[in-house]
């Protein structure tokens, strides 16, 4: 309500809504904006003589004034941004002079995500049984592969490869991680999708590549039948851990579990 009251002080900017109750502000704004929209549609839609543009123009400015009024509600400090047109003028002339000179060589932009990833990578603290590689060379760190060799549990002795795809807005978004080794695992499906909470619903920008690799390690030492992606494997782990263990062994040695053939990964 306080915000609405501030509009009243700017009646000279926005005279229409004034005689009405605050709740009507919205209606007026909506009507005006719809009018702008409808005008534009109808005038552009008919192939006949268009109706005059200034109507639309006025509406735009009415809004602008309303918003200008609102933006005035605060002390404004953005002073050095004022009247840049002179600057643009000078720059335009400089550009004309410089037009004959050679253009700069094309340069690649480094995103903030890339910087943060560089940091993550340079601070990696990998377990001894874990390796990282960069198939596209040293200048593309956004796509890499991590190989995990569990040192205990059902998967001891196996080697599992994961691909990481990191977005330019990392760490705002989690990396996309896929398991490239076909594995008999309750939390990894046969297409390589991985059910690890920090990769999706529980991702936070404070987490990093190290955390994810620990998470992947954990999946192999502590497979979890309560969050299944491979339904059959989860059911076997829950009901018959002995049989699960022999299934895992068979799969890792390169063999069938049920109808599915797993390539050797030991």
């Amino acid at each position: 309500m306080q915000k609405l009251r501030t509009i009243w002080n700017y009646e000279h900017f926005y005279p229409f809504a004034l005689p009405n109750l605050p709740s009507r502000y919205r209606i007026y704004l909506q009507i005006l904006s719809w009018a702008s929209w409808r005008d534009a549609i109808s005038s552009l839609a008919c192939n006949n003589k268009p109706i005059c543009i200034p109507t639309d123009h006025k509406v735009v400015f009415l809004f602008s004034f309303a918003l200008l009024a609102l933006s005035r509600c605060r002390d404004l400090h953005c002073a050095s941004a004022g009247n840049m047109i002179k600057l643009f003028k000078v720059k335009e002339r400089q550009r004309e002079i410089a037009a004959n000179a050679n253009g700069k060589p094309p340069v690649k932009k480094q995103s903030a995500g890339e910087l943060r990833l560089h940091r993550d990578i340079s601070e990696l603290n990998l377990q001894k049984t874990c390796t990282i590689s960069f198939p596209n060379g040293k200048d593309d760190l956004m796509n890499f592969e991590v190989t995990v060799r569990p040192d205990e549990g059902y998967y001891l002795g196996g080697t599992f490869m994961f691909t990481f795809q990191v977005s330019p807005v990392y760490p705002h978004e989690a990396p996309k991680v896929k398991c490239k080794t076909k594995v008999y695992h309750p939390n990894i499906d046969l297409e390589g999708n991985v059910c690890l909470n920090i990769l999706r619903e529980d991702w936070k920008p404070v987490l990093n590549i190290n955390t994810i690799i620990y998470g992947l390690f954990h999946l192999f030492t502590q497979p979890n039948y309560e969050d299944p992606l491979n339904h059959d494997a989860a059911a076997v782990l829950r009901d018959n851990p002995k049989m699960f263990e022999s299934n895992v062994r068979r799969a890792m040695a390169g063999g069938y579990v049920g109808q599915t053939l797993f390539p050797r990964c030991m």
């Binding site: 915000k3 552009l44 200034p54 123009h57 918003l67 480094q110 990998l126 330019p168 619903e201």
Partner: protein
């Protein structure tokens, strides 16, 4: 004598009220008069990024606000579902590039305006392309694209030896965004206001469903759709990438989602919901776009002309219940890796990368040990992991000047450890390296040779 001038007058009458008259709320150095209006036409070059719901409004508003030299960039083609709000497009335009049609329609209606369309991705343009604009207006729908344009605009910003931003190198941006009844308009003047990256942490994380919920216990229509999109697609089309812009692919996901919803007795899967979930679409409302666009264009006009002090610096609008707007002044992150000054380091061109890394240890503002160095996405030297250390080791004996392409000054980033209150902490710093005895002309000569 009467007819012609009247038409012209009515066109710029409202604008003239702002540009021809003095006022008590105007910006510093504001000089009202017809010369200002003419300069705006002549020198005000504005790039509109995106020709969607907001982009169409921005183009129209800019054209009607006295800007004559506009360009618009958009990589999308027009779809039927755009027509309700992207008012520059007609049914017969479906399938054509948005940028081209939007430019053509506005030019048809507003005489004297020249709009150059660019039908391509924003990443496809050279930095040089962006440098020619006075102001960049953003009508985008993703954090990723905003972050990219922001980093491009901030890359033009230069600082003097006292770490003060040089105003003439600042590329102002005006960013608009809408989501249903809500929207925001913000002014970004690199070096003066916070940049997009300074406040990126304010964005809430995207809602993502756990994969196992999708696979095992779907409860909502969205779960069924995401199951078809993320799990079923890969299972059936091994290796083939899903393309959200291909209607065949979308139809397939919709059909699979319907089957799954029937299996679990979940109602509500529709084709439009499928599109919405997969492409993360929030219904757009034409009036919100109109309001936000008006605010953005007014800010553009204010930055260019100084007819008022600019918004400081983030306006939010909410029209869902009543009307609420609020202006918040975001603060700059002085150590921002994108818009901050970084640490100035003067070097001889003969300094090798190894020597440079040693220098960082002793630099009083840094005291950075074991530094890894990157330059524009390239790893110059990485201390770890061993595989990268090995790949970059040969660079250590090469002069830094040569490694960064023999340019007189540029930005590199260093990652290392520093001691703070007797505790070792890792840090990532922006460094402005300037080479002694190399000026711009020498640079051009060498650029021509190589």
């Amino acid at each position: 004598m009467a007819a012609e001038p009247t038409a012209q007058e009515s066109r710029s009458r409202d604008l003239d009220k702002l540009l021809l008259r003095p006022g008590n709320l105007v910006g510093p150095n504001f000089e009202p008069g017809p010369a200002l209006r003419d300069d705006l036409k002549e020198y005000g070059r504005v790039l509109v990024v995106g020709a969607g719901g907001l982009g169409c409004e921005l183009l129209k508003d800019l054209a009607l606000s006295g800007f004559r030299k506009l360009e618009v960039i958009d990589m999308d083609r027009i779809e039927v579902s755009n027509l309700n709000r992207q008012f520059l497009f007609r049914l017969e335009d479906v399938g054509k590039p948005k940028a081209e049609v939007a430019a053509k329609r506005v030019m048809e209606r507003v005489s004297g305006v020249n709009i150059v369309p660019h039908f391509c991705r924003i990443e496809d343009k050279e930095l040089e392309f962006y440098s020619k604009f006075s102001i960049i207006a953003l009508g985008l729908d993703s954090i990723e694209a905003r972050s990219y344009i922001n980093s491009v605009a901030c890359s033009f910003l230069e600082y003097d030896s006292d770490d003060s931003a040089l105003e003439e190198t600042s590329k102002p941006m005006v960013d608009g965004g809408t989501e249903g009844f809500q929207g925001h308009a913000r002014v970004i003047v690199p070096g003066v206001t916070p940049c997009f990256e300074c406040t990126i942490w304010l964005f809430p994380p995207q809602v993502k469903f756990p994969l196992c919920t999708l696979a095992e216990t779907p409860r909502t229509a969205a779960h069924c759709i995401e199951y078809a999109h993320l799990i079923k697609w890969d299972e059936v089309h091994s290796g083939k990438a899903f393309d959200p812009d291909d209607p065949e692919h979308m139809k397939w996901v919709y059909n699979e989602a319907t089957k799954r919803a029937e299996l679990f007795g979940i109602p509500g899967v529709t084709y439009s919901l499928t599109q919405g979930v997969v492409k993360n679409i929030i219904p757009a409302i034409a009036s919100t776009n109109a309001i936000i666009s008006a605010a953005c264009v007014l800010e553009t006009l204010k930055i260019a002309s100084g007819c008022s002090k600019t918004l400081s610096n983030y306006l939010t609008y909410n029209g869902a219940e009543g009307l609420h707007t609020e202006v918040t002044e975001f603060v700059k992150d002085k150590d921002c890796l994108v818009c901050g000054p970084g640490v100035l380091i003067q070097l001889d061109t003969s300094i090798t990368l190894e020597k440079f890394i040693d220098l960082l240890k002793e630099h009083p503002k840094l005291l950075l040990s074991k530094a890894s160095i990157t330059h524009r996405g390239k790893s110059l030297y990485m201390q770890a992991p061993p595989v990268l250390e090995e790949m970059t080791r040969s660079n250590l004996s090469i002069p830094l000047f040569d490694l960064i392409g023999k340019i007189p000054k540029d930005v590199v980033h260093a990652i290392g450890t520093t001691t703070k209150n007797d505790k070792k902490t890792s840090c990532l710093r922006k460094l402005r390296v300037v080479f002694k005895g190399v000026d711009g002309i020498a640079d051009m000569d060498t650029a021509g040779e190589t």
